[in-house]
């Protein structure tokens, strides 16, 4: 069936900010979708609030709106743009929910917008538990016994019928937010309460627990002609009970016979037909009873998903791209397979390798959170790796995780290394207990258990992990132990060494065991000719010739890398997403690819994150799906003649290996690794600043407690303390007095001469500023000066900031420009540079210099309409800014606000308070001619309701009591009722501001948490006290607010700008405008 000619303009809804359960896989799918639709000649109108995405680059759509993904906002956009169709299946649950709301509000009907891909009925049938269950009954597909409930009474009644343990799932949420398994009535009530609150339609599904069953997923595609194909099967290593996003998974499935697999396949096809997904992809999850083979369906997602991104990367079959083409009328047989060129997309990929996905967690950021894994997703990122055997793929995944493990275990402090003392090893009893509860890094626990002598049968009984996986883990461990057969690494014979490599052992693992250097292992391997080859991912197991160099390394015999003779640049990606390093860096890498390809370079992309645009085989000329370790990157470097590598765009990951790569002969483009190291070295950096006469807060370096106390006393409290060489402010804290410093030094960090602790004077109530700039050796062009809304001390990644700055004087800004240029020159930057400044009493201090891509590069690029990363990449490849034509700072005449998004709701029990350690997972952007409106949009985009009226609860710490008076007056002037705790109220009263009193907890009822629970409060302003006494009380307030989704502001600055936003919104209301229009204005004014 040919392309539809009755539609011309298509609205695509993105997924919004990165949150747990919805990450950059939707940028990948959305970008593919937009590209595919435009290739077909459609005009694409895009809305996404997330500025860090590639899809919101103005070149990806005809009309790009970086606006909050809220039905009323999208309605305004529809009114302006008048699209003919809406494609809601590329933007995750956010887009589906928004599309459903637009449908239900009659907006789509009013403007004649047709839903394509999946219509409202289909979405409801797949997502509404009751409708889905009825549909499954009609076609005879089994489901676990279950019931829906809308009230606690209904839920308890259902619990009695179904029995414990049971799974509770809130309706219409993503990543299983608020769900869990209840083993007793008390747990049950707890989870149901949470679930009812979090569900979009106050619904929970109560379902018999089938924890321990084997879990599978199929990625299914259907077209208008009713052709259905299965793109990929996925088997979970962690059985039912752990959210699939948190499970280690393998593709294809490993432990089903063909008969069992085909039955599952037939069911999947029956399901997609019954639910009525007319075109596009769906993800269907199944569970099978390992004892009987009985099978049930768990759920279906009628859209592209994290799993479909994984399936696309695992097979080379671009699901989102094809889904977009199917949505506009094509059938699968009419679409060509991009990789083979000659065969059609109407087939089922077959693969001749094993794919392993391992989730990456961030529990270290949320120490109070329950780290047990369950039905609610908690991971923040993942890696995917490929090998010809399961051990090879798995060990690659373990080292790709960048958690310090060079493979399955054997990190530097591994208790089972031959050099480690025996007494440090966990005993069987402890290991059995740890095996019992699913947790991050369970594979490591299994390894320890095996090494401690627990056999696979017992591990299987405890974990229910399939014996097939356990046996492979056992073999990896047996191989590790077999290293003891040789006294030194030089004694390991070539054939044995080859066997180790074929089983995925890294040079570092071997070096650790034999107490030698990885470089020595490498050298000897080369002498013996034991090097990997590159196999292609070709969708067809080599049955057809492949034209797309999409490669993975393996220890086989015949390489498929082709030397083209063109000038090649290697771009190193960011690896797994984590807090502090995510989509922003992928954006930079992708921009580097795009812009350098335009300049005629052949780009080799190296990355192992399946969610990203950078790992789309379309993005680069050759894609290497590999871990970002020295060993793996050097292998690529040796296999082709490569001019240079870009290491400054992938966050900390490539920087960590840059120096070693350079020493091994890789040309690092742009700023040298030595220069990057220089600014990380506090002593050298201090000298540099002194030489340049640029101030920085007083500071010192300590390697022990006494020294730290001495330094703090000299420079004066409060001080910011942090371990050296960390990412995202890991372990960083603001310390107000000696006692806390001592506590932090003794409990939070292990200071040592190799790992000193950095102590800086904390500038109280200072304004923090982020600057991104490009320097080519001649001129330094500022990309943007961003002023933080929160005062210094909150991690820049967690701060709200504005571009241009809203309160900095011209003089201060000029000082910043001057310092930036001088620092760029002194550090010999070639490419991007990010500097963090603090401004106190008009004086500019340098906090940090990062001669690399920063988290704010995509935001700045969107605001000024120039791809800063693209420009920088060209500078690194040798062009000057003059040649590129980017020589002048762009100062936009509109306001852009970047606001963070936090995962607190996923980590029950954690405090929502902000500090120097980064906790946000994503960000949104608000853009508007009016500052307040831009703030309001950012706020809305981050999923918080802006209270235009109602009651604000104020409870601030003593330090902030004076400052909060102005803010309170602003709220009062807006007609917002004020509630205040006694101490805060006294201040307000003294200032003549009327407020009502509310008890603190333990002082009387109704207290602060009561009024929040009763929905009497629409906004909470609560700034943290530094003493431990108030901590519990404040935490209770913030947690209560979090659970009721009441916006909570934890800084006075934040509260002030909130008042501005409310005022603006009440005055102007909300209007939307395309980025293309903003950019045209920027160009006109330049």
């Amino acid at each position: 069936m040919p392309r539809r000619d009755d539609i011309h303009r298509i609205l695509v809804i993105g997924a919004g900010p990165i949150v747990i359960g919805q990450a950059c896989e939707f940028d990948y799918s959305g970008t593919q979708g937009c590209k595919a639709l435009r290739e077909e000649g459609y005009e694409v109108i895009l809305i996404n609030s997330n500025p860090a995405t590639i899809m919101t680059d103005p070149m990806m759509a005809d009309r790009t709106y970086i606006e909050p993904i809220e039905p009323e906002v999208v309605a305004k956009l529809i009114e302006i743009e008048r699209p003919d169709a809406l494609l809601p299946t590329l933007g995750g649950q956010t887009a589906l929910n928004c599309a459903i709301a637009l449908h239900e509000q009659g907006i789509l009907e009013k403007y004649g917008v047709q839903m394509i891909g999946a219509n409202a009925d289909v979405i409801k049938k797949a997502e509404d538990r009751d409708l889905f269950k009825q549909a499954m009954e009609r076609i005879g597909v089994k489901m676990p016994p279950s019931a829906s409930a809308y009230t606690m009474d209904g839920a308890i009644e259902a619990m009695h019928r179904i029995g414990l343990p049971c799974v509770i799932r809130p309706g219409f949420t993503l990543g299983g937010t608020g769900g869990g398994i209840a083993y007793n009535p008390q747990e049950f009530e707890e989870i149901v309460t949470r679930g009812l609150e979090l569900s979009m339609n106050s619904e929970v599904l109560i379902e018999k627990s089938i924890a321990g069953w084997k879990e599978y997923e199929l990625e299914v595609m259907r077209d208008r002609k009713d052709n259905v194909v299965i793109v990929c099967s996925i088997e979970n290593v962690d059985p039912m009970g752990v959210h699939t996003g948190d499970s280690v998974t393998v593709a294809p499935q490993q432990t089903l016979t063909d008969r069992e697999y085909q039955e599952m396949r037939d069911e999947a096809i029956a399901i997609i037909r019954e639910i009525g997904v007319e075109t596009g992809g769906s993800n269907i999850q199944f569970a099978t009873d390992p004892a009987t083979g009985d099978r049930i369906v768990i759920e279906m997602n009628p859209r592209v998903s994290r799993s479909s991104a994984l399936a696309s990367k695992a097979t080379g079959f671009p699901i989102a791209k094809i889904a977009a083409k199917l949505a506009v009328g094509y059938s699968l047989d009419e679409i060509a397979n991009d990789i083979t060129k000659k065969t059609p997309a109407c087939f089922e990929p077959t693969i001749d390798y094993v794919v392993v996905k391992v989730p990456r967690f961030a529990f270290e950021k949320f120490p109070e959170a329950d780290a047990t894994l369950g039905t609610q997703m908690k991971s923040v990122g993942e890696v995917m790796t490929i090998g010809r055997t399961f051990p090879e793929a798995l060990q690659k995944a373990m080292r790709a995780m960048e958690t310090g493990d060079p493979g399955l275990g054997m990190r530097a402090n591994d208790p089972f290394l031959p050099s480690a003392p025996r007494r440090g090893r966990p005993d069987k009893r402890k290991l059995r207990r740890r095996l019992g509860a699913p947790h991050a890094g369970r594979l490591h626990t299994i390894r320890h258990a095996l090494l401690a002598g627990i056999d696979t049968r017992e591990i299987h009984e405890i974990t229910r992990v399939d014996p097939w996986f356990l046996e492979h883990l056992r073999r990896i461990v047996a191989l590790e132990q077999s290293m003891s057969r040789f006294d030194s690494f030089e004694d390991v014979p070539a054939n044995v060494l080859r066997e180790f490599k074929q089983n995925g052992f890294s040079d570092l693992q071997l070096a650790r065991w034999y107490g030698t250097e990885a470089a020595r292992v490498r050298r000897r391997r080369h002498e013996l000719g034991i090097v990997p080859v590159y196999n292609r991912i070709d969708t067809c197991a080599a049955e057809f010739e492949s034209f797309t160099p999409y490669l993975y390394s393996t220890y086989e015999t015949r390489t498929e890398v082709v030397e083209t003779g063109r000038r090649k640049i290697m771009v190193l990606g960011g690896g797994p997403n984590r807090i502090g390093q995510g989509i922003e860096f992928d954006y930079c890498c992708v921009q580097a690819c795009y812009k350098l390809r335009e300049q005629g370079f052949e780009i080799l992309m190296v990355n192992c994150n399946p969610e990203t645009v950078s790992t789309d085989f379309d993005t680069s000329d050759q894609l290497f799906f590999e871990p970002l370790t020295v060993e793996d990157v050097l292998h690529i470097h040796e296999s082709l003649s490569i001019e240079g590598a870009i290491v400054q765009f992938g966050g900390q990951t490539p920087l960590n290996i840059a120096l070693k790569l350079k020493q091994a002969g890789v040309t690092i483009l742009g700023t040298s690794p030595e220069a990057i190291d220089l600014v990380e070295d506090r002593e050298k950096f201090k000298e540099l600043l002194q030489r340049l006469d640029i101030p920085q807060p007083d500071n010192g370096i300590a390697t022990e407690v006494d020294e730290a106390e001495e330094i703090a006393a000299t420079i004066g409290y409060p001080v910011v303390v942090r371990p050296s060489y960390v990412l995202g402010g890991r372990g960083m804290e603001i310390v107000y007095e000696r006692k806390s410093l001592k506590k932090w030094m003794t409990t939070a960090v292990e200071a040592s001469p190799e790992h000193p602790v950095l102590i800086d004077k904390f500038l109280e109530n200072a304004t923090e500023v982020d600057v991104d700039a490009v320097f080519d050796g001649e001129i330094c062009v500022i990309g943007g000066i961003m002023e933080h809304v929160e005062q210094a001390g909150i991690h820049s990644g967690d701060s709200t900031c504005t571009l241009p700055p809203y309160s900095l004087s011209d003089e201060v800004q000029d000082t910043i420009r001057d310092y930036t240029r001088r620092l760029a020159e002194a550090v010999e930057v070639r490419g991007l540079l990010n500097i963090q400044y603090a401004i106190k009493d008009g004086k500019v201090f340098v906090l940090e210099v990062n001669p690399r891509a920063s988290r704010t590069v995509p935001f700045v690029s969107k605001v000024i309409g120039t791809s800063l990363a693209g420009v920088a990449a060209r500078v690194m490849a040798g062009e000057s800014l003059a040649e590129i034509g980017f020589t002048k700072e762009v100062i936009p005449n509109h306001w852009s606000v970047k606001a963070p998004v936090f995962p607190f709701v996923k980590f029950h029990g954690t405090d929502v308070i902000l500090g120097p350690e980064m906790k946000s997972t994503g960000e949104v952007m608000g853009i508007d001619p009016d500052l307040g409106c831009a703030v309001a949009k950012a706020f809305m985009g981050a999923g918080r309701t802006l209270p235009l009226e109602g009651t604000a609860l104020l409870s601030v710490c003593d330090r902030d009591k004076q400052a909060v008076v102005d803010v309170a007056r602003a709220f009062a002037d807006l007609g917002i009722r004020l509630l205040a705790t006694p101490g805060t109220r006294r201040y307000l009263e003294d200032a003549g501001i009327k407020s009502d009193v509310v008890f603190k907890r333990g002082e009387g009822r109704p207290n602060v948490t009561d009024v929040i629970a009763n929905d009497e409060v629409q906004l909470v302003i609560n700034t943290p006290n530094t003493d431990a006494f108030s901590l519990a009380d404040e935490k209770a307030i913030r947690t209560a607010a979090l659970m009721r989704n009441v916006p909570t502001i934890t800084t006075v600055f934040g509260a002030r700008i909130m008042a501005t936003a409310i005022e603006s919104m009440r005055r102007h209301g909300l209007s939307v405008r395309a980025m293309q229009d903003y950019h045209a204005e920027v160009v006109a004014s330049a």
């Binding site: 002609k225 069992e260 009987t292 065969t343 001749d352 014996p467 056992r474 067809c540 080599a542 049955e543």
Partner: protein, 387 residues
């Protein structure tokens, strides 16, 4: 479940191609050697069905999926009474069997069935060679490790082209088949129970039993005849309809079968042929078959039904193909084509109740998208049965 010894390495086994290329790996299964034409199968699951498919007679099968043996061998998934292939090559033999239905592991099974297995070789390299050069002859051996001697043996082997190897796999004498199949997601094939079960004569050229199960499920009274059975012998049984099975090798030398088919078709007996049965029918109707470079062996081949424009994902296993241009377009219509290479996948006679497909609607292994063809055949038979 059992797990094998970790130190079982170093049992060499060789695969030597007729052009002298040697692949060394480790041995499993039967101790011995045999010659065969090297083909590769791209199905990721279903190795038990592959090793028990008689159509692989005379061939050494290389599995493209690298991990084979994970689910062992079970009692239900046999596609024939034995294994007929010449050798089985995998990247890695699973160290463990993990499936609730398994009763045996693959190595033990191949040892019992006297099939030589080779593991630990770069199967992708072999596949790329076959794709580039074509299905070469080779020898697999763990008893002789002298490559010169092996090369001599493989050069002396006549190969399968131009030979009748159906004789080696067909049944010895006729027998009734009564086992059907179950499965909630197979299309409903049960014929109206009021109607008598049509008597179906199956010509066994090396049949996979899932076809027989499908035919029983579709409501036939099934009797299987050996390939050499004459038309008279079959007609003596008074069949209402005829089914022509799959089988190994080159169809052209099977003159006796082509004659039988020609006679039966002329009697206007409703006829359905699959794979070799399809090729023999084309020959009986005056067409030609040609040997393919490396054939179609897998579970993901897209076939378009030219009458409905719907695509089926099909299971396939053939090295020969019907030359569409050789057919009399006035008599025979090409109903199906392979979407990958546009080769003929299905035929229908314009006047006679006869249709055939190159692919395997009985699946096993592979998708069951085309299972409905057994039902379609049943409908055709019903139209031609005396009321």
């Amino acid at each position: 479940m059992t797990s094998r010894d970790d130190t079982s390495a170093a049992r060499p086994c060789l695969l030597v191609f007729e052009d002298g290329e040697v692949h060394r790996g480790t041995h499993f299964g039967h101790h011995g050697e045999s010659c065969g034409e090297v083909v590769f199968n791209t199905a990721m699951s279903g190795y038990q069905e592959v090793i028990s498919d008689p159509s692989y007679r005379g061939q050494i099968v290389v599995m493209t999926y690298p991990l084979i043996g994970n689910t062992g061998i079970n009692a239900e998934d046999w596609e024939s009474r034995d294994c007929f292939l010449s050798g089985f090559v995998v990247r890695e033999l699973s160290p463990i069997v993990s499936n609730q239905r398994a009763t045996q592991d693959l190595a033990a099974c191949l040892a019992e069935r006297e099939i030589v297995g080779l593991a630990g070789v770069d199967t992708r390299a072999i596949v790329r060679k076959v794709r580039e050069v074509g299905a070469l002859k080779a020898i697999i051996s763990n008893t002789d490790t002298d490559t010169d001697s092996l090369l001599k043996k493989v050069k002396a082997w006549p190969g399968i082209h131009g030979r009748d190897i159906v004789q080696e796999v067909t049944c010895a004498s006729s027998y009734p088949w009564t086992e059907g199949l179950d499965g909630p997601f197979l299309p409903r094939l049960e014929a109206d129970s009021e109607q008598p079960r049509p008597r179906l004569a199956v010509m066994d050229f090396g049949i996979k039993v899932n076809k027989l199960r499908g035919l029983v499920a579709a409501g036939y009274d099934v009797t299987v005849f050996p390939a050499q059975a004459s038309a008279e012998q079959i007609l003596e049984h008074a069949p209402d309809c005829v089914f022509l099975s799959n089988g190994p090798g080159d169809p052209e030398p099977l003159g006796y079968a082509i004659d039988t088919i020609r006679t039966l078709v002329a009697k206007e007996l409703p006829t359905f042929g699959i794979c070799l049965g399809h090729q023999l029918t084309a020959l009986a109707l005056g067409g030609r078959t040609v040997k393919m470079k490396f054939g179609h062996h897998g579970a993901n081949q897209p076939v378009i039904d030219l009458t409905t424009e719907r695509t089926e994902i099909t299971s396939q296993n053939h090295s020969y193909v019907v030359d569409g241009a050789s057919l009399d377009a006035g008599k025979v219509e090409i109903t199906h084509e392979n979407l990958n290479d546009r080769t003929v996948e299905g035929l229908r006679h314009r006047d006679l109740p006869l249709f055939t497909v190159q692919y395997h609607p009985e699946a096993a292994p592979g998708p069951r998208d085309a299972f409905y063809l057994f039902g379609r055949f049943r409908e055709m038979v019903a139209r031609h049965m005396p009321a």
